[in-house]
């Protein structure tokens, strides 16, 4: 069983490094780094760290408010939190502009009140959109973190008469220290390779990110060595962020409870409730406004959509299911092996699991193209390559979601399992799977959504029969059809959301916790 984990980790490493080498070897000019290039690196790191820091910081009070309150739409809100993440950038930007843009809602109200308008294009716009994409993700992750605190802890703090701040310090901070680093790294890595957002919201060349520079080097100068250099810098930055995050992580300790329902005696005062509900509604508004704007713009006009949209929708669905299965198998094997072979904090297998997020999609796609070219016609295999690459891109998320709780489960239950003489498979089927069920469902939903919403990796090799739904949405917009494009985007959103919802609630249904 464990050789699978090593095999898959090796495969990821091979694809990552191999694609880089392929691109390097095809370069006919050797270029060096110049001062402006470092400016790009600095800006990239700056916007990524700011986006990640703000997303994480805001996620703390939001997830805490959601966890300790019970309201009618809670489970709906939880599912909807996945929605922004799965929107194609082009679509999200349009929806975002409808709310925050020059002629958007916010500015409309500001001018009603006689206040000056805000312009979001620039660093602010980039960060705002990144937060819109990633904050909900961070909140979902943190909610699991909060769920992992045994009810007994809160009972104990109540008995000891601890104040809210003391509870926060003694019980909640240790959990945050455990979960936040990996969330920060995920969001940081996502923003590190930001392309469409940076290019559209950035306002101009002052906001050039590494991925944009790669595209430029590749597309206009055809300077493959520079593209590869930049890609390498991106990998190094990513790996550095991953290893730094390990430094902040305390070692896990066993903390088993008896799965009692969590009651929070520390936060029943009316003003705490008020603040919590305030936070929840503000978050909801921030996340739903752009999506609502999109829904209204499309006018639900599905019947006028060209047939090709439906074809590509089916194609995208089938492909995303395949890549979800692939991603789940690979990530589960890697996570399982990673726990077996190092229980410490510095874990090579885990880092390899995060590696795909550090890759430049453009360099990865080009590398695969160059690798395949001598043997087969890459066009004939565009869909297979896409399924594989999408699976690859989902792995960091899946590992990010399941590894921590899995590690905790081993700590809490492996001694009991050994006592009872449970075999490895027995432990997996009787302890891991049922107790990880909600995480697995969330991870699968996210993986499915990522593959459904992805586009662009196969820009080098595709054809009329390989058009995916996101590509079709983009293409509709590219031919003036903004309305049809928003309808197709709404269809994409509905499909993505439906598959995410099915996996997510499915996982919660099967949970034995």
């Amino acid at each position: 069983m464990h050789f699978l984990g090593f095999f898959f980790a090796g495969l990821i490493f091979f694809v990552a490094v191999g694609s880089l080498i392929c691109v390097f070897l095809s370069a006919d000019i050797v270029s060096t780094f110049v001062f402006e290039d470092w400016n790009i690196v600095v800006f990239t790191v700056k916007q990524a760290s700011l986006s990640a820091a703000i997303s994480c910081a805001m996620a703390i009070p939001i997830s805490r408010a959601i966890v300790r309150r019970d309201f009618i739409f809670k489970s709906m809100l939880l599912s909807f939190l996945g929605a922004p993440f799965i929107l194609p950038v082009l679509v999200a930007v349009i929806g975002f502009a409808a709310v925050f843009g020059q002629s958007g809602l916010i500015n409309f109200f500001l001018s009603l009140l006689g206040l000056p308008n805000i312009t979001i294009y620039g660093l602010l716009g980039i960060i705002l959109v990144h937060v819109f994409f990633n904050l909900p993700l961070a909140v979902r992750f943190l909610i699991y973190g909060w769920g992992s605190i045994p009810a007994e802890r809160f009972r104990l703090t109540a008995q000891l008469g601890m104040s809210r701040w003391n509870v926060f310090y003694c019980v909640e901070i240790p959990m945050l220290r455990n979960t936040l680093p990996s969330i920060f790294v995920l969001v940081f890595l996502l923003c590190l390779s930001s392309f469409g957002v940076a290019l559209t919201m950035g306002g101009g060349p002052a906001s050039t990110t590494i991925e944009v520079a790669i595209y430029y080097a590749f597309r206009y100068d055809f300077n493959l060595s520079k593209a590869a250099y930049f890609a390498m810098v991106q990998i190094c930055l990513g790996l550095a962020a991953i290893s730094i995050s390990y430094k902040f992580k305390p070692p896990n300790v066993p903390q088993g409870g008896i799965d009692r329902f969590v009651v929070r005696w520390d936060c029943n005062q009316i003003h705490v409730r008020f603040i919590d509900y305030m936070i929840i509604s503000l978050t909801g508004t921030f996340i739903f406004m752009p999506i609502l704007a999109l829904v209204f713009m499309s006018g639900f006009n599905f019947s006028s959509l060209p047939d090709q949209i439906w074809e590509s929708a089916v194609r995208s669905l089938l492909m995303s299911l395949l890549s979800t299965i692939l991603a789940m198998i690979i990530s589960f094997s890697i996570a399982h092996t990673a726990l077996k072979y190092t229980m410490g904090s510095n874990n090579i297998l885990e880092s390899i699991g995060y590696l795909p997020l550090c890759l430049s999609p453009l360099v990865l796609g080009t590398g695969i193209f160059i690798f395949l070219l001598p043997y087969i016609n890459p066009n004939d295999h565009a869909l297979k390559v896409t399924v594989f690459v999408n699976a690859l891109m989902s792995i960091p998320f899946v590992i990010g979601i399941i590894l921590n709780p899995m590690r905790q489960l081993y700590l809490d239950f492996s001694r009991l399992g050994d006592n009872l003489g449970l075999s490895q498979m027995g432990f997996i089927s009787m302890v891991l799977l049922p107790r990880l069920s909600r995480h697995i469902g969330f991870a699968a939903g996210l993986a499915c959504a990522i593959s459904l919403g992805d586009f662009g990796i196969i820009t080098l090799f595709s054809g009329p029969n390989t058009v995916t739904l996101p590509m079709a949405v983009y293409s509709l917009m590219g031919s003036y059809r903004l309305e049809a494009s928003s309808s197709a985007a709404l269809l994409l959103l509905l499909l993505t959301f439906a598959s995410f919802y099915l996996f997510d609630t499915g996982g919660r249904l099967f949970a034995r916790h």
Binding site: L90, V93, I94, A97, A98, G101, Q102, S103, T119, G125, F195, G196, L199, T200, M201, G202, G203, G204, P205, A206, V212, Y215, Y216, R219, Y220, F222, M297, P306, D307, Q308, W310, E311, A313, V314, R315, T366, F369, I370, L373, N377, N379, I458, T459, L460, F461, S462, G463, P464, T466, V467, M471, A472, S475, L476, M477, G478, S479, Y480, L482, S485
Partner: protein
Amino acid sequence: MARFVCVFLTFLTFSGVAFGDEKKVLNVYAPDYFSSEWGPGPIIEESFQKICNCDLKFTTGDLLPRIRLEGKSISADIVIGLDTGISQVAREADIFSKHDQDLGVLTLPIPWHDEVFLPFNWSYFSFIYNNEKLSRVPKSFDELLNGHDDIKIIIQDPRTSVSGLGLVLWVKSIYKDNASMAWRKLSKRILTVTKGWSEAYGLFLQGEADMVLSFTTSPAYHIIADSDHSKTAVIFNEGHYLFVESVAKTKKAKDNELADLFMSFILSESFQKEIPTSNWSYPAALAYDKLPDDFKKLPLPQKTILMSGKEVSKIRKIAIDEWEKALRDK
């Protein structure tokens, strides 16, 4: 929903079925927009297959990187959709052969003598505005730079988009050595720079900016498809930069009769008359009076600007650097 299920079943049934009969195949590389049902791709495929008894196979994607990665071992017979901004780079890849077509039939606004690149459609770069909202429309580039500073425009990045590069070359042609200064003035008008035309135009349609960099033929779409007359292209005194899209035959297809047939098909009236309403641009070889009426009503610039491929490759980097510096210090 019923439709969805139908398509699903059709897809499942036919996705695995390959073409049984051995027809000759013509491999055509094309930009992404050829892969969509609503673009020019299907029309070309259908009408060409009627006359050639062959199978026309489109491969779509980013043309330039693909051409350069494959180099001389390129599997395409034809490459369609090369624009004037990148044609010189494509030419230097040395993979194309002469098209051997009679250029006398061309109806471009300028003389065209290229032996390799055969044009099939053209338009002018311009800014599009909403004539119900914008009243003080600049009549020249100078007026745009020096006039009312409350006009906000959205442009595209010259490093990632054809139209963005077109604007940089347009400014460079008009202002020559003062291009830097012109960009510095223009940068105050720029709301944002987008990756491609689609994002920019989408943001404009949503009312984000007063004007967007596009083509003089863009209003035709709104007029013909939506009977919406509110979009107009500005016409500047200094002239407008020309946008020409070409098709070329690879060396591999030098003696391929199908490829030759395709090249002559490109200039045929049956194909050319499809261009206005599928590609929303002017056909390269169709008499003006055969254009759709709404196209005839579109304003045309007095002066056409176009740099030769050699000039473009000489000046491209300098011009983009000027653009970048001016906008960076904004």
